[in-house]
């Protein structure tokens, strides 16, 4: 049906992953860092689905469902931490929380 190689699919996943990686490193706002982590997880999912359709096995899609589950759990905990950060420091700067204080 479509004439693309596995290489192209992995390239798309790689580009998106490194964009997310760059976002995590550069942004200081915690909301944007969480969004970048989502981009990275999504890129990993693309790699799994592409490999799954290359070998025509459902395993890639099963792995994507697991990644989706993990992303949902990660985001719920991450956003709860973000709300606490905002409540205590009145800021979304990741550097505001550099002291653990026990």
């Amino acid at each position: 049906m479509i004439n693309i190689s596995l290489e192209t699919g992995l390239l798309l996943a790689g580009i998106l992953f490194f964009m997310g990686f760059l976002g995590v490193m550069v942004r200081r706002n915690v909301i944007f860092m969480l969004m970048s982590v989502e981009v990275m997880l999504n890129a990993a999912g693309i790699a799994f689905v592409m490999a799954g359709s290359h070998w025509h096995q459902p395993d890639g899609q099963v792995m994507f469902i697991f990644i989706l589950t993990m992303a949902a759990a990660e985001v719920s905990v991450g956003l709860a931490i973000l709300l606490q950060l905002h409540k205590h420091y009145k800021s979304l700067d990741a550097d505001a929380a550099n002291k653990m204080k026990g």
Partner: protein, 174 residues
């Protein structure tokens, strides 16, 4: 169909780039939703319609709306956006940009020549995925259930209002 793949991939990459460079959180979120829809089209044309639907429903529909709710709760004002613009000056992008570009080039070199044969894009039906999910990966499903439960309890525990005391061990020091 090949053209659709390339267009959707280009849309996904461009909108992800726009999303990660916006100063306003809601704008970034909307670009990210477009990016996820583009990725969903990529899944659809490469023979994974079930995953394409899950991407739209769960990623774009549920997780991004969760982000939107939190941004609305925090009521990001003009001052935050100005602060954000100061944080994302071009100078801060140089160092991380160079190093992640090096890693990306290494990744491309590793992947290129991996497999030139076109991918088998025949549709893998949801039935096959379901059978595989609930037979071979049943343990994984159970562990995912435990993970989601831990996520719910963790989010409740962290997000609950506790008055002035941050932790029960800190009551003496307060």
């Amino acid at each position: 169909m090949t053209v659709i793949f390339y267009i959707a991939a280009a849309v996904a990459i461009i909108t992800t780039g726009l999303a990660l460079t916006r100063a306003h959180a809601v704008h970034a979120l909307l670009y990210l939703i477009i990016s996820l829809l583009g990725v969903s089209v990529v899944f659809f044309v490469s023979g994974a319609p079930f995953i394409a639907a899950l991407e739209v429903i769960i990623y774009a529909g549920a997780i991004m709306v969760l982000f939107l709710f939190v941004i609305m709760m925090l009521s990001v004002g003009k001052a935050n956006i100005e602060q954000e613009k100061i944080w994302i000056k071009p100078r801060t992008w140089v160092g991380p940009g160079i190093f992640s570009l090096i890693l990306l080039v290494l990744f491309i070199l590793l992947v290129s020549g991996f497999s030139d044969t076109p991918i088998n894009s025949a549709i893998i039906a949801p039935k096959q995925v379901g059978i595989s999910l609930f037979s071979k990966y049943l343990l994984g499903v159970e562990i995912s259930a435990v993970l989601l439960m831990a996520g719910i309890i963790g989010a409740y525990h962290i997000g609950r209002g506790r008055g002035k005391v941050k932790h029960r061990f800190m009551e003496e020091s307060q």
